[in-house]
């Protein structure tokens, strides 16, 4: 199942980039993503088990994050943001691949988790991470399209990516949603969960999210500076996803 999921996600990442140049390949990206997603779903249910396990091991949490990102990709297929897949699927495959390598080197640890609060906290953190990752993907798209427009060399991204304002808005909204979820996670963690999530580390992430939103909505940052900051913040948050439970 893991091999099938890896092959599916690898193919989806490759074909989703190819379809930017040759739109007819889109169907292969969809088929590959579908293969990976279904295989991963089966794997989650049959081998990892439900919430009790996958929310308390690193490879389990990353797998759920990847599964959720691909679910987001399917949702985006139904909107005007179809080109998101060409950036999101490679990022998703990278997360999946890094996790597979880490799992190979460091066998997954079963972490201590007691009570529903611990699981709710971790599930909220996970949702927040997913939100920030998608926000970062929009930031990458923004930077690529803006580069073409500023250099007056219209090429692929000029034609295929949504308007800068749309990308900027999506970037900001997802960061705001991620921050709101992370706030909820922090509240639950501070309310006494015997938890795998260290409140002080979560607090650092929360402060990072707060900083991103402050410069955006109070400092009125837009454009490449905001995109760079979003990517950086998301990178830190993803590092936390890999590092926190270990």
């Amino acid at each position: 199942m893991v091999a099938l999921a890896s092959a599916g996600y690898g193919g989806a990442a490759l074909f989703s980039v190819v379809q930017l140049y040759r739109p007819r390949w889109e169907v292969w990206a969809l088929v590959s993503a579908g293969l990976g997603w279904v295989s991963e779903t089966l794997w989650l249910f049959t081998h990892v088990g439900l919430a009790m396990v996958f929310l308390t091991t690193r490879n389990g949490t990353v797998a759920v994050a990847v599964w959720t990102l691909v679910a987001f990709f399917w949702l985006a297929q139904r909107s005007s943001l179809k080109s998101l897949g060409s950036f999101l699927l490679p990022v998703t495959f990278a997360l999946w691949g890094i996790d597979r390598v880490l799992t190979f080197i460091f066998p997954p640890l079963m972490l201590f988790a007691a009570g529903w609060r611990a699981h709710v906290t971790w599930a909220l953190v996970l949702a927040s991470v997913v939100s920030f990752v998608v926000s970062a993907v929009f930031a990458i798209m923004y930077v690529e399209k803006e580069r073409e427009l500023k250099k007056r060399r219209v090429r692929l991204f000029y034609y295929r990516l949504p308007a800068l304002a749309v990308l900027d808005r999506a970037m900001g909204r997802l960061a705001a949603i991620g921050f709101a979820i992370m706030t909820a996670a922090l509240v639950v963690a501070l309310s006494g969960a015997a938890t795998i999530v260290h409140p002080w580390r979560l607090g650092v992430l929360w402060a990072l999210g707060a900083g991103v939103l402050t410069v955006r909505y109070h400092g009125r940052w837009r454009g490449p500076r905001m995109a760079s900051l979003t990517m950086l913040a998301s990178l830190v948050i993803v590092a936390y996803l890999f590092g926190a439970p270990a």
Partner: protein, 458 residues
């Protein structure tokens, strides 16, 4: 039912289906449909010729009313736009008759336009109709307007019953046009400065709905851009000009708000899109003006277009913020050129789908031409089978109903298997002009008549 069949095969099947007949009956078989197109267009005919032989809607109506003057025509559609006038004719009509008809409509002797004429028939005519509908024969490559014009021409002919046997041709041509615009990028991306301004603004701002635009300069370019912007459901459109009377005149026409040039600094801060195209010798929009107007809003998306030569907008404005975009006329033209190159790359894909559509059209037309022969052959075989069964059953009166059914089914199976290969071959021949004599040979070999009725029921 079979009325009478003789073993010798000299007598026919009487219900008018097939008959064992001579050359007279064979000559009744419907001839292959001839489709041709005659016309002039922007490629070979200059405007002074095109305008002389173009037809107004009234003239086209009169043409349809008088179409019987063209002896032998079985369908007529006239397409007349500013870039082309084309006659699509079905039926065995000599070119000379079409030209004479055209002359009589426009009262221009053919000598004046014959050198610019083009003519095509058969698959080439179908190919031309599809290329026209897809916009790859247009002056502006991939334009979508022509598809609507082809549809209108077809509907106009249909309204007066002139389409006749051209119906399927136009069905395929319109389908090819729609496919071209839906499946390829032939009609996407702007090819004019006015459209490119809208396209670029949308690439940054998204929809222009509820946005504010300011056009500085109400000359030819200013009017063009203002008209394009006015189609975008803007919240507000300002038109500023050195002469207030001129900006008022344009603003009145477009429902915009007129301004005098000195008022520009007061509204420039509200504008998401600013287009300047004056003939002023110096800068009309300065860095200081924009910086002061955008105080506290420098991080909002704005697009400035400087379409003037010499330039109207200080280039330093583009460096005020990363969310401010400034394009001059060369930058816009670079985008137009990239768009044109992109459309040219799409032509191959359009041509490929036209090949598919022409082939499908030919197959359908070929099938419709060969169908009577196939039906006739099948009916003849069926009639013979019925007659022979009748004789056999009369010689074998002891057969039960069940046994009779088995014998009947076996003979039907044999007949179908035997006919299968010739029918497949004939369908294949129908789309190959060189194989047309083979179909005629089948008619003569089996002595078939024209037959469009279903086979008799057993």
């Amino acid at each position: 039912m079979v009325d009478d069949v003789e073993a010798s095969g000299n007598l026919g099947y009487h219900e008018g289906k097939w008959r064992i007949a001579g050359d007279e009956a064979i000559s009744e078989v419907k001839a292959a449909l001839k489709i041709q197109v005659v016309g002039i267009n922007h490629r070979d005919a200059p405007l002074m010729v095109r305008e002389r032989v173009a037809l107004t809607p009234d003239q086209i109506e009169r043409a349809y009313a008088r179409r019987q003057q063209m002896a032998g025509q079985e369908g007529l559609v006239i397409l007349s736009t500013c870039n082309r006038t084309e006659f699509y004719v079905a039926g065995d009509v000599p070119l000379d008759a079409i030209l004479a008809f055209w002359e009589s409509l426009v009262l221009v002797p053919r000598e004046e336009f014959i050198n610019a004429l083009f003519w095509a028939e058969g698959p080439e005519a179908a190919d031309h109709a599809m290329r026209v509908a897809a916009g790859i024969d247009s002056m502006v490559l991939g334009e979508t307007q022509i598809l609507g014009q082809v549809k209108t021409a077809y509907q106009m002919a249909q309204a007066v019953g002139a389409v006749g046997r051209l119906h399927r041709l136009f069905h395929y041509a319109l389908r090819a046009g729609k496919r071209a615009h839906h499946e390829t990028e032939i009609g996407r991306n702007a090819l004019s400065v006015g459209h490119a301004v809208i396209e670029l603004a949308k690439k940054v701002l998204g929809s222009l709905e509820r946005k504010t635009a300011l056009v500085i300069g109400a000359g030819e370019m200013g009017q063009l851009v203002a008209r394009h912007l006015n189609t975008q459901s803007l919240a507000r459109l300002y038109i500023a000009n050195r002469s207030l009377a001129r900006s008022e005149s344009l603003a009145r026409e477009l429902g915009a708000q007129p301004l005098a040039l000195p008022e520009v600094p007061t509204v420039i801060g509200q504008a998401d899109v600013v287009v300047s195209c004056t003939t002023a010798p110096g800068m009309v929009v300065t860095r200081e003006m924009v910086q002061s107007a955008l105080e506290g809003h420098l991080n909002e998306f704005r697009f400035f277009f400087d379409l003037a030569v010499p330039r109207d907008i200080d280039p330093a404005i583009g460096r005020l913020s990363a969310t401010i975009f400034l394009y001059d006329v060369d930058d816009v033209m670079r985008v137009v050129d990239a768009n044109r190159a992109k459309r040219e790359r799409a032509v191959a894909a359009v041509e490929q789908l036209i090949v598919e559509e022409v082939q499908a059209f030919q197959e359908e037309m070929g099938a419709s031409e060969v169908a009577p022969v196939i039906r006739s052959l099948r009916n003849k075989a069926e009639a013979i089978r019925q007659a022979e069964l009748k004789k056999a059953f009369s010689r074998l009166p002891s057969l039960t109903e069940e046994e009779r059914a088995v014998v009947a089914a076996t003979t039907r199976l044999m007949m179908n298997k035997w006919l299968n290969d010739p029918m497949v071959a004939m369908r294949r021949w129908s789309i190959d002009d060189q194989k047309q004599p083979y179909i005629q040979a089948v008619r003569e070999l089996f002595r078939l008549g024209d037959d469009s009725e279903p086979a008799p029921v057993e």
